[in-house]
């Protein structure tokens, strides 16, 4: 339980990180959203044996982490928490694909291991990019960007509502679960029956809360639409940011830079 609580504490921490004021934080949220998507699509479009070609791509998360002052250990811990699924599916690759495709001296490495590491690198890059997006932009600004880019208003408003009440309800649920755990002896009362009372009550209270919120908003002139007033401007700098990274990613997609560099150096030596 402590683990889940700290996971929610982390959400708040992500917003704290997003409230910083660096060059990257000041960029238009749309610019950061688009760049993140271009990055993830490029990374995922590589063939399944790609490893060395991925290495230059680490420059994107590293520049962003360093430039926007994000704590690396915190992000790594978050990545580790969700690694098991990719690991579970990828771990079968070495068993099915045993053909040796890479030779390092006497050591032959099978295609399965190569593609397994490729999956893990993909995982770190793509998931890391999403975490960095939130930690540099903040959820509200991402919703604003989505809204301005044509996502249905109903959906973005809903996202904002959900995010706003996430903390309130999670805290309430955690209090209920803690109260039940404290009153339970030998696991009594931890079963389905009490569970249904707790969750059912929480649900009813949530419904009432939603109605109160709606009435309060209705009194203040809510007509089914929220007008977001915070101005965001897409400047030349934002355009340069998106264009610069996009060209860079496409270049790295077309040219295997490490291979190129390695060939050049081994050519110099021999």
């Amino acid at each position: 339980m402590a683990k889940i609580e700290s996971a929610f504490f982390d959400i708040g921490y992500m917003d704290t990180l997003a409230a910083q004021d660096t060059f990257i934080h000041r960029l238009d949220p749309r610019a950061k959203l688009v760049t993140t998507l271009v990055f993830v699509v490029t990374v995922v479009s590589f063939d399944r044996y790609a490893i060395s070609a991925f290495i230059p791509f680490f420059i994107y998360p590293i520049v962003l982490i360093a430039g926007s002052n994000l704590p690396l250990p915190f992000l790594l811990k978050k990545l580790l928490l969700v690694a098991p699924f990719a690991l579970l599916v990828g771990i079968f690759n070495p068993f099915f694909d045993r053909e040796i495709i890479l030779k390092l001296g006497a050591l032959g490495i099978s295609g399965g291991w190569v593609s397994f590491f490729s999956i893990m690198i993909r995982f770190v890059l793509s998931v890391g990019a999403a975490l960095i997006l939130i930690a540099t932009t903040g959820f509200n600004a991402v919703c604003l960007a989505l809204d301005r880019m044509g996502t249905p208003r109903v959906f973005t408003i809903q996202l904002l509502f959900m995010y706003r009440y996430l903390y309130v309800l999670v805290e309430e649920a955690l209090r209920m679960a803690r109260a039940r755990a404290l009153r339970s002896l030998n696991g009594e009362g931890m079963g389905l029956k009490v569970f249904s009372f707790l969750v059912g009550n929480l649900l009813l209270r949530t419904l009432d809360r939603a109605q109160r919120i709606h009435l309060a908003m209705f009194c203040r002139g809510f007509d089914g639409e929220i007008r977001l007033v915070r101005p965001i401007r897409f400047s030349v700098l934002d355009f340069a940011y998106v264009a610069g990274w996009t060209v860079f990613f496409i270049l790295l997609r077309l040219i295997n830079f490490p291979q190129f560099l390695g060939k050049w150096i081994t050519g110099l030596i021999s």
């Binding site: 993909r122 408003i157 029956k193 291979q259 050049w264």
Partner: protein, 341 residues
């Protein structure tokens, strides 16, 4: 259960993104039409409720493990399919961004797997007919349990299909299927009972909540057929136009089926489709030669690619190490400059 970015190809994730985005647009229009603007805050707050409710566990009798409610089914039951789907989608957006569950590209898959199946298949086709217009306690229970199980089974099947079609993971279709379906059957049963228990509680204490939801969305109005036709068109388009761009195994499913079953005739009809697809591809593809294997090489089933000799791999290793050092150094320099400022 969450699909991960690392396992999907651009073609699969693109299709699923298109499908999910289309559904979100469609549902938004539908929800807006229902004029009842009370629903908008209700949806958002209920989304938060799902997160909160998953903090409360119950112990499963006879085992040491515990379970909690799933999201999609209970949302569909309370909000109806359209608003339920939108709420589920927003939950998954938050999970992808904050908990790194899945990732941005796989988000389309996840919204589809965990939102579409419970809200548009299990709810209208299983829960509604069983629960009926004036549901009794037993019918609500039975409907909720069965719908949860089937919704989750379909979702798990979709994960398997998406993974195999992407061809990034080597795992074969059948073995992944054998791995996924039983686990999700157990999870589905647990979630089904939990959902049913909560719904039954609501039914006892405030039945009007469920009645309102049931009245709000007449079952005849649900155009599942249109949605399915749209998906079919999207799938064909993807096969024809995008798969040159997709993966080294455009035929990943066929290939793993062949490998898993060892039967030629399973693969044979697929091959016919595939060759005609390949013809369309060669006509539509912008870069037909780029990184794309010839159909002959695929048919022979040889895995010669990539042809790496020792020289290339050594230079790759050296180059890779140097690049890594460069990248780390750039990061370090930026960090240092930041501190100085």
């Amino acid at each position: 259960m969450h699909m991960a970015d690392a396992l999907v190809s651009p073609a699969v994730s693109g299709t699923m993104w298109a499908a999910s985005a289309g559904l979100i647009g469609y549902c938004s229009k539908k929800v807006k039409k229902e004029i009842d603007d009370r629903k908008i805050p209700l949806m958002g707050v209920l989304g938060a409720f799902i997160f909160a409710a998953q903090m409360i566990n119950f112990t499963i009798p006879g085992t040491a493990s515990s379970g909690h409610i799933g999201g999609g089914m209970i949302l569909a039951i309370i909000l109806g399919p359209y608003a339920g789907f939108l709420t589920m989608a927003s939950i998954l957006v938050v999970q992808a961004l904050f908990f790194a569950d899945g990732g941005l590209l796989a988000l389309g898959c996840n919204i589809f797997n965990l939102g579409f199946f419970p809200c548009f298949i299990a709810y209208p086709l299983i829960y509604k007919p069983i629960a009926g217009k004036t549901p009794g306690r037993a019918r609500v229970l039975g409907g909720a349990i069965l719908a949860s199980i089937i919704g989750l089974q379909l979702g798990a099947l979709a994960v398997v299909l998406q993974t195999v079609m992407s061809g990034i993971a080597e795992i074969s279709f059948t073995s992944f299927l054998i791995l996924m379906q039983p686990i999700h059957l157990l999870i589905g049963i647990v979630e089904g009972f939990a959902t049913a228990a909560v719904v039954a509680f609501i039914w006892r204490s405030r039945p009007e909540v469920l009645e309102r939801a049931a009245a709000g969305t007449p079952i005849g109005a649900l155009p599942v057929k249109n949605i399915l036709i749209g998906l079919l068109i999207a799938a064909v388009l993807t096969g024809g136009a995008f798969s040159w761009f997709a993966s080294t195994h455009p035929d990943g499913l066929e290939w793993s089926l062949f490998k898993a079953t060892g039967e030629e005739e399973l693969a044979a009809p697929e091959k016919g489709v595939h060759t005609s697809m390949a013809e369309i591809q060669s006509k539509t593809a912008v870069l037909p030669d780029y990184g794309f294997k010839t159909p002959e090489a695929e048919a022979s089933g040889e895995e010669k690619w990539p042809a790496m000799d020792a020289g290339t791999s050594v230079s790759g290793l050296i180059g890779g190490t140097i690049t890594l050092l460069l990248v780390v150094m750039i990061g370090y320099l930026i960090k240092k400059r930041q501190k100085a400022v």
